[in-house]
Amino acid sequence: MTLRNDIAITPDLVASHGLKPDEYQKILDLIGREPTYTELGIFSAMWNEHCSYKSSKKWLRTLPTKGPRVIQGPGENAGVVDIGDGQAVVFKMESHNHPSFIEPYQGAATGVGGILRDVFTMGARPVAAMNALRFGAPDHEKTRHLVSGVVAGVGGYGNSFGVPTVGGEVEFDARYNGNILVNAFAAGLADTDKIFYSKAEGVGLPVVYLGAKTGRDGVGGATMASAEFGDDIEEKRPTVQVGDPFTEKRLLEACLELMATGAVIAIQDMGAAGLTCSAVEMGAKGDLGIELDLDKVPVREERMTAYEMMLSESQERMLMVLHPEKEAEARAVFEKWELDFATVGKTTDDLRFRVLWQGEEVANLPIKELGDEAPEYDRPWTEPVIPAALDRSDVPQMDVAEALLALIGGHHCSSRRWVYEQYDTLIQGNSMQRPGGDAGVIRVEGAETKGLAFTSDVNPRYCEANPFEGGKQAVAEAWRNLTATGAEPLAATDNLNFGNPERPEIMGQFVKAVEGIGEACRVLEFPIVSGNVSLYNETNGRGILPTPTIGGVGLLPEWNRSVGIGFVAENQPILLIGGPAERGMHLGQSIYLRDLFDRRDGDAPHVDLAAEKKTGDFVRKLIRSGVVTACHDLSDGGLGVALAEMAITGGIGASVTDVEGNDPILTFFGEDQGRYLVTLNLDPQGEEIAALWKEAEALGIFAPWIGTTGSNALTLGAATSIPVATLTAAYENWFPSYMNG
């Protein structure tokens, strides 16, 4: 076989494609000859960490991915979960970390664009988005610039596309100084019988290119995302793509219109490694070969080589296999939306991936092996060293009121309003709970009372100290946040952000975190249906905090029974449900220690999954019975911060009295898991609440009455009362004054 090749293949060239010598040998063994330059590019695109999951696959297989409601688990563009009445929610979370650090606006914007495309590729109209953002220390020289650019980029794309952002996270830690994290989540709605997949079927059918034209942007992006950063990072800017939300919005409408015509057999969006990845995936899944004629590909730059076209990551593009008799109808839809429509190839029966350019063959590779034979590693890993638990006697003391004000007015616990007001949170008219609470809630169009809840969670401090417990905790917290709105947690997506997997201690973090995630998902019946792995988040050899972000989705049969976190009325009893009887005893790895005493010691709090499930099920039942007026789970900053957030959100104070005999620091700032605060519209001396306590006691759930809402101040035990207005000012002030500073 003689293929056209214009560039000599040298060891340096192989290395610059991120392929190790043994990986290159594997290519030689597989094809029995030296690859062409284009083929080398294709292998590098398919076999890099980002696309092949070669370091993580072995461990991802251990995660629970099935459940009675799961229609599609990992392996497609997004996961699909049944929500009844013939409807499904389609969702996924994906990282765009490396590009966002290099070029924050476009990196974040195209991250949002990519995840939206994953969702509507499956036939679902996007209805909700979230973003989990992690930046370096606030005082690091780059942080403000990155926050400003990323937030503007997320908003710039999502607002124009027209999807409400309903939740997310923003966190600062010096460990992200050289590698920020931008994890974008999107969810869409589809009918269960109208889900579209990437598996091609039928020989000799047209492979059609749709959407925007191909340029040189993003060439090699996926390979870049599979390497550590060094000091040459600025040189990598050309590998970042440029987003065009206007085209994406038209692509959405055109795709949904086209799908309704019945013309689509298979569809795959062009994300990482663009044309290469999408074509190979459609063919390989359908046991078919694919032939592409690059001279037919719509381009927006002159003299593009086959290599550049195959590796371009230009955005807003799709590849489809269509019913040939419907081609004219399909073309008309795309012409209406003024998008490119070009037949660029066909399906074949020879299981080869063939690429023609200027009339000559520039690639001819076995299609199945390109995907399936990608290297897979069982990388060496070491058991993480878990720090000793914090000694009970080692509790640094501080005035409780002062500590609370410092935390609520600090970078970690303060309001994210500055961020989420730059996102359109109410477009589509279905946002029932907007950012600022435990989870975002939307109502489901076309259903009477059905709603969906969304949350994104992980505590990287815990994951660093104890990856196994941290993995469990991330899942449990997502499950808890959904429960706190009254939703039944359905399923989750995981976005696993770690450092260099070639270092055994980093691989150890990954292995144990995945083990923890798996265990929590199994016990909580909360399967992982989609996800993404981002490794090599290191700069000059220093890794990020292990950050396995969990995006959770829950179902509300009646959204009008959902509750928020704000106190709604005075004189309502506050119950602290769950946790150990001595409540608030775990200070290791807490925000109190880190932010007020600059200490990162102690073990992470452990999650008792059985108790978690029992407590959550009890709280959800209470909410659905209509007696709960507000509910908030306890997380960073413990009871004190949770109470402050409820008071600030509701504009009503509270007095918490039942704390005698405990160290107030542990009581108010301990971060023990599996706990909720609820307020009730019940008489605290009445029969109904007595029945509630009886039921809790029978279940072994601790649910003491700790205080009462009312007045315009928050009083924590014996501490000085703090006016709600003072709390609110501190809470709202940090972000805007930081960004203006």
């Binding site: 503007a152 710039g156 124009s160 596309f161 209406k336 007001e421 996102y423 109410l426 477009i427 008219g429």
Partner: protein
């Protein structure tokens, strides 16, 4: 009572607007694609919000030069009610149907939050459901809502009762001159406003303050 909604590529609150008109008017409005030859017979023609043509040029500038806008101009001249919300307001201004300009928000950032609006003129076909001086809640979501007009224009629209809504109680989100949130044309049959009353029309939205605007606009029988 018939309503029509004009859709340009890149608009994204068309579905919100269609839902509001349908829920309040009782029937679905006609959907007019920007390439359609004409606008069907209607008593109220609406341009909803979004990012027509990506707003890559000045917001609304490209849509304003679309052939369908000539048809809209004819209808407006005949006295048909025309409502432009957010990008729709920007398009009406760019098309010369309303005076002034909408500049980038003073913060230079997109802003999505709830504001308070004062109903300045309640004596129009759009606003008769409110009382003059009434303060209503309404969400905003825009990047370019900073209304500006020169002194002479401003004096004229203020003097002729052509300010429909003003941001109230210190909630001006964008730096608009005189806190202007929405204005009428001379005949008061064309209204443009930045806020989104269509996103506050039912209990599920947390309020119904936007409802009276549509109820009034949809009330008159042709």
């Amino acid at each position: 009572m018939k309503a029509a909604v004009i859709v340009f590529p890149g608009l994204n609150r068309d579905r919100d607007m269609i839902a509001a008109l349908t829920k309040i008017g009782g029937s679905k409005p006609a959907i007019v694609w920007h390439q359609d030859a004409d606008i069907p017979d209607a008593d109220l023609i609406v341009i909803p919000g979004g990012f027509s043509y990506g707003d890559y040029l000045r917001c609304g500038a490209i849509a304003a030069r679309s052939p369908i806008m000539d048809k809209l101009r004819e209808r407006a001249a005949q006295g048909v009610k025309v409502l432009g919300v957010c990008n729709g307001f920007q398009i009406l201004i760019e098309a010369g149907l309303l005076p002034g300009a909408l500049m980038r928000n003073m913060s230079l950032k997109f802003v999505c939050r709830e504001v308070k609006l004062e109903v300045v003129n309640a004596d129009t076909d759009f606003t008769r459901g409110y009382a003059k001086g009434q303060i209503i809640r309404c969400p905003v979501a825009h990047h370019d809502g900073n209304y500006f007009a020169d002194a002479e224009t401003l004096k004229r629209i203020e003097g002729e009762g052509r300010v429909a809504f003003r941001y109230a109680e210190g909630t001006n989100p964008n730096g608009s001159i005189n806190d202007i949130a929405g204005i009428f044309n001379e005949n008061k049959n064309v209204l443009g406003l930045m806020p989104h009353p269509e996103n506050l029309i039912e209990a599920a939205h947390g309020g119904e303050d936007g409802r009276a605007l549509f109820a009034a606009a949809l009330q008159q029988v042709a």
